[in-house]
């Protein structure tokens, strides 16, 4: 659907270096990278707002490299929404559908404003609307012309954490409904994991790695990536509430996380598709099963041992590879070797669900 072939461009101090990328129809693709990596630049380049110095951009089988932005039929949303302050909400949404016959335009506005729950705001002015409202309006404005692809630049960054989680769910629901090919730019790996069908990590104007989220997170291709991601033991799966759980609606509850080869006891706030992360230092390693309060006790085999300074990093596989960090003392006390059978223990509350 979107295909970039060796796209390079320069814009002041920033530059894109030979970017190749493929996003298939209906995919939710996340571009992840630190500030200044060139993510926004890449998004603007796909939208046609910046010229490329070499390479090709294809959208829906059409080579759009030389096509002007206004003819690319790309929905674009900036981090700070950039609604037109001189227009009402309705006219902001209607901005991109001026060529439609009035009846069709009315229907489109009605449809997107219903989809994004904006009906009650249509005749308001932009000043005084909350961040969440402005964000939904910007999304409605981008969707009204029925673009071929949707490009979102840090769509959640300007929201407070509470609203952010809610909007993240709404974005997922919206994508489920519209199946719109989407590229979503973020610097937040948690956001990337929660949303991405596939993702690419960018740094200094280059794509460093692309692939399935858990694959990228589990096998970072470079030192930069490992450092940037900063967290190990991330798994994707489903959360199901425990049968006997008594907690009230809206509260955290005891649940089971299931990723196929791995089942964990967790404390969660909602059911369904989710990611979990367990910090290496939260995991205890022992040769015999521990009789402790930890709910998660997994048997696995030591696959790899790596000594780095005061820590020893072990890869242990109880179904999926876990990374565990031990001090040199505890490592020597345990007398472990590759191939040894060990137990991993950690509390349900040590499992970070998102």
């Amino acid at each position: 659907m979107i295909r970039l072939v060796n796209v390079s461009s320069a814009a002041g101090a920033f530059a894109l270096r030979s970017i190749s990328l493929e996003v298939s129809t209906g995919e939710y693709f996340v571009l992840l990278g630190p500030t200044g990596a060139g993510k926004t630049l890449l998004l603007e380049t796909i939208a046609g707002l910046r010229a490329v110095s070499s390479g090709e951009i294809w959208i829906a089988g059409e080579n759009v490299t030389a096509v002007a932005a206004e003819r690319r039929r790309v929905g674009f949303m900036y981090q700070d929404y950039l609604l037109f302050p001189h227009l009402t909400v309705r006219r902001n949404i209607a901005f991109g559908i001026r060529h439609e016959p009035p009846e069709e335009a009315q229907q489109r506005i009605a449809r997107v404003s219903q989809l994004l729950k904006l009906d009650h705001l249509l005749d308001r002015r932009i000043a005084g609307l909350s961040g969440g409202e402005q964000q939904r309006i910007a999304l409605a404005r981008a969707l009204a012309p029925q673009p071929r692809v949707l490009l979102l630049d840090e769509p959640l960054a300007a929201l407070d954490p509470q609203t952010r989680r809610q909007v993240r769910r709404e974005l997922l629901a919206l994508h489920d409904e519209l199946q719109m090919t989407t590229i979503h730019v973020t610097h937040d790996f948690e956001e990337a994991l929660a949303l991405a069908d596939r993702l690419a990590v960018m740094n200094a104007g280059e794509i460093v790695q692309a692939g399935q989220p858990d694959e990228v997170f589990r096998r970072p291709a470079s030192q930069f990536l490992a450092g940037f991601l900063g967290i190990e033991n991330i798994f994707r799966g489903r959360i199901t509430r425990c049968a006997g759980d008594q907690s009230a609606a809206g509260e955290a509850f005891n649940a089971v996380f299931d990723s196929g080869p791995l089942k964990l006891s967790v404390v969660a706030e909602r059911e369904g598709a989710a990611c979990v992360a367990i910090r290496p230092e939260e995991i205890t390693v022992s040769k015999e099963p521990l009789h402790s309060s930890a709910l998660n006790n997994l048997a696995g085999v030591v696959k790899h041992i790596e000594k780095s300074g005061p820590l020893v990093r072990l890869t242990i596989d109880p179904g999926l590879p876990f990374l565990v960090a031990l001090t040199v003392q505890s490592f020597e006390a345990l007398q472990l070797d590759t191939g040894a059978n060990v137990w991993l223990s950690f509390k349900a509350t040590a499992v970070h669900v998102f």
Binding site: F76, H86, P147
Partner: protein, 263 residues
């Protein structure tokens, strides 16, 4: 109420001096013209003709200024190109040079024997001693106000708003008229008012190029040198009152729409 600090007191005193200095001549002049002489002056066909001529010429100058100066202002606000700083400095030059000098400079281009004058004479336009001469003199000395104000206005519009419009199917020109201009019209209008007011008050450059037909400022000078103060005064008062009224009305329009003064 808090007692004012010594600094506030000193500054208020000094500030009051300049306010009085600006206000006194205007007030004294308006007060010293008897209503009878004002009516008499208004009954004078030459006075009416010259005031009308001044307003019409200033309006034409502002229209030409807007047609060429607003696009220039947009380029200055948005683009980086070689010689940009030179052009920005050049735009300010008419403010700093003596206006008779500006008049002479214009004469050297638009005089009958010079290139500009010869070129326009093919279209039957002559700038010396004629209405078009008044318009170019006004344009030259006042365009800076419109260009500078508009440029500042465009600079305040986030270029990414224009980007959004582009992705919504608007070409660059339509984007300019749908986003850039509507979001900076207050600056453009404010600059236009300043330009128009400056054009009405111009004397030095006009008097070099076109003494006749006489615009209001030239007529005032002419009456003052020929007949003396008594005959110049009523006309001066009428001109001041007229420009103040139009100025106030336009400022109110641009002020009211935001509740915030723009310049």
């Amino acid at each position: 109420m808090k007692r004012p600090t010594p600094l506030t007191l000193i500054f208020s005193l000094l500030g009051a001096c300049v306010v009085v200095f600006l206000l006194a001549p205007l007030v004294k002049m308006i007060l010293s013209a008897q209503s009878g002489s004002l009516a008499e002056a208004l009954a004078d066909a030459e006075v009416r003709r010259s005031i009308l001529l001044t307003l019409v010429c200033a309006t034409w100058a502002t229209v030409f200024g807007a047609l060429t100066g607003v696009p220039l202002a947009y380029l200055l606000a948005r683009k980086i190109f070689p010689g940009k700083h030179l052009i920005e400095a050049l735009v300010d030059v008419p403010i700093v040079i003596p206006h008779p000098v500006a008049g002479i400079a214009l004469l050297l281009v638009f005089g009958r024997q010079f290139l500009g004058g010869r070129f326009f004479s093919h279209f039957g336009l002559s700038f010396i001693g004629s209405v078009p001469g008044i318009v170019i003199a006004m344009l030259f000395v006042s365009a800076s106000f419109l260009v500078n104000a508009s440029r500042d206005g465009f600079r305040q519009v986030d270029p990414r708003l224009e980007n959004v419009a582009r992705t919504l199917g608007y070409g660059p020109l339509r984007t300019f008229f749908s986003v850039s201009l509507p979001l900076s019209w207050r600056n453009v209008l404010s600059g236009g008012i300043m330009m128009w007011a400056r054009a009405i008050s111009e004397f030095g450059a006009i008097v070099i190029i076109t003494y006749n037909p006489k615009v209001a400022s030239v007529l005032i000078y002419d009456r003052f040198t020929t007949y003396g103060l008594t005959y110049a005064l009523p006309l001066a008062v009428i001109l001041i009152l007229l420009t103040l009224v139009v100025f106030a009305v336009l400022r109110t329009i641009s002020y009211r729409s935001t509740g915030v003064p723009t310049t």
